[in-house]
Symmetry: C2
Subunit: 344 residues, 2 copies
């Protein structure tokens, strides 16, 4: 039994419990429950009845209404079908499963869905805790989480009073942009993103700060025309790159919020006949599996590990333990989309 | 209220119920539950007590032990962090959410984890139904699902007595390979995949059948050396392509089980200096977002829609409705990795 399971029941009704109560072997109970041959019908009925009775007394569903634990943790995420979110979800689900805890997945793409969800959560008694994965920050959000009467851990977004696990987004941006200044770039653009509601992500805000700080560290003044904002994703990155190429003086390098945005930017550059990295350098943050394929230089972040750690934190929080925030390191992965700028 | 919600309760305890019982406005109840200012403490206590009481009577957790519904559907999948599975999950979760049903995510990568899960499920009373997403077929699996005492719908894998939604994998392979024969290829390889346990997926078996059938339709005899099997994924595809290039007479075209496998094969071809499509054609199945980026010719399958339909089917099954299997169409997306073979 894992050290946290004193609080959240692990597999509360197991075949072994049923077998012990009836004086049967586990394999007989298993065969009976699965309708396999080799078990007399009266025995099968006894196994089913005992299973139901045990479940009635100590199943997670029962314990929820008696005021104890549900055996379930919720993950709240804007979406499940892109690399970053699906990696965090996979990491968290695996770790929760190891502790015998079920994962309830809540994909809430809009601010109004999130507001409704957090308003109604206290009524539902359906989870022992929540993992909130990087969603865009609206005006209302920060005041909600700390008033939920359930433990909450956030991933890559910081709310007052809520423990979090994250990379240092500002530092990751500094790592990316400093790589560009170090090899001689001075005219460096950034592609930022907004969600479909037009809200920025916390990571976007911190990475933009890091971009500006890294430029300042090299004595470069930021220029508004070099910061463009697009919807998140490949198409957004492609369109943002088109806008940068529409400038009278385009940049010699582009820092993209994420790899998928950079992959869109690379598509535009390829279609424009602009050679990467000879004429234009591109760098991003993530280390998406496709980054290797496209030879994209990027700052790697351990998305799956963020989910694993968030799961361990929320289990500890549900056990009443105090939590320290966790910041995971990021690092440069040097590939072939970055090079010194063309000679003037 | 949606047409299915007569069976599975939608948001069983809503703020409106609490407000009605206490003669308060919904906004007062909301403020009380969320700990916001503007509500007298005695009122807040009344709201909390009434919420608890209502939840006790009719929450999904309670109804589970009184023999009715849980308001939850489980999704069983080998993994959550690659395009196909994450798209199915996202589609199903969205549709279930529309019906007020929670999604429990079960990622079970190995055969033994799946066997344990299905054995213990009847004891847990934790879901109203299951969506089982394409996992590799082991010797034991087919006999388990139809003996669970909960409605099951499968996605892209067929089990006796279990309704399913899928593409026609055999036909999708025929579409891919026929495209190659139509433009003149005769020496066509296939890259198959196995899971980490060494088990084939149902989709792999059906696509291999389709590959052989399409060759036969063009009077081409299949050759064992042209069928290679690798672990699923980019690296597997890369390694399988290396093996095909090790043949004394390599193929002129390769049909890959999926886009991610093809992307690995393209990486090997690029590193080998073999030009695509001039010297080697590559085609696959999926239409992954990266397929457009890599100009990969592929057979598109609607993964998200598979999840949406599976959700509607399992809701109907939980309502006791009979179900017909659903087969969604696939289609060729012509891009730039396929061309006639080089002149002999």
């Amino acid at each position: 039994m894992c050290k946290h399971c004193r609080v959240i029941p692990k597999k509360p009704v197991a075949m072994k419990d049923v077998a012990t109560r009836l004086g049967l072997s586990i394999s007989t109970v298993s065969r009976a429950l699965n309708g396999r041959p080799g078990v007399a019908e009266p025995t099968r009925q006894k196994v089913l009845a005992e299973s139901q009775a045990l479940a009635y007394v100590i199943s997670p569903a029962t314990s929820a209404v008696t005021g104890s634990r549900t055996g379930r943790i919720g993950i709240v995420t804007p979406r499940a079908d892109v690399w970053y979110y699906s990696s965090v979800i996979a990491g968290a689900e695996e770790k929760l499963r190891e502790h015998g805890i079920e994962t309830i997945l809540h994909c809430l793409p809009t601010e109004s869905e999130r507001r409704d969800f957090f308003s109604e959560l206290p009524l539902q008694h359906s989870v022992d805790g929540l993992i909130v994965v990087s969603f865009p920050v609206g005006a209302d959000d920060p005041t909600q989480l700390d008033r939920l009467r359930t433990p909450v851990v956030s991933v890559s977004v910081r709310f007052p009073g809520v423990p979090f696990v994250s990379i240092d987004d500002r530092l990751a941006a500094i790592q990316a942009v400093s790589h560009l200044t170090r090899i001689g770039h001075r005219r460096i653009a950034m592609i930022r993103t907004v969600d479909p509601d037009g809200l920025p992500w916390a990571a976007d805000l911190a990475r933009t700060e890091g971009y500006i700080a890294a430029l300042a560290n090299s004595g470069i003044e930021g220029q508004d025309e070099l910061i463009v904002t697009a919807p998140w994703g490949i198409d957004g990155g492609a369109e943002a790159m088109e806008r940068l190429l529409s400038l009278v003086a385009p940049p010699t390098a582009v820092f993209c919020l994420s790899d998928e945005v950079a992959i869109g930017a690379l598509r535009t550059l390829r279609r424009s006949g602009i050679s990467v990295p000879e004429t234009m350098s591109v760098i991003a943050i993530d280390d998406h599996p496709m980054a290797e394929l496209t030879d994209l230089t990027t700052i790697a972040q351990p998305a799956r590990q963020l989910g694993e750690i968030a799961a361990e934190m929320v289990i500890a929080a549900a056990a009443g333990e105090g939590l320290d925030d966790v910041v995971l390191p990021t690092r440069l992965v040097a590939r072939h989309t970055t090079a010194p700028p063309p000679a003037a």
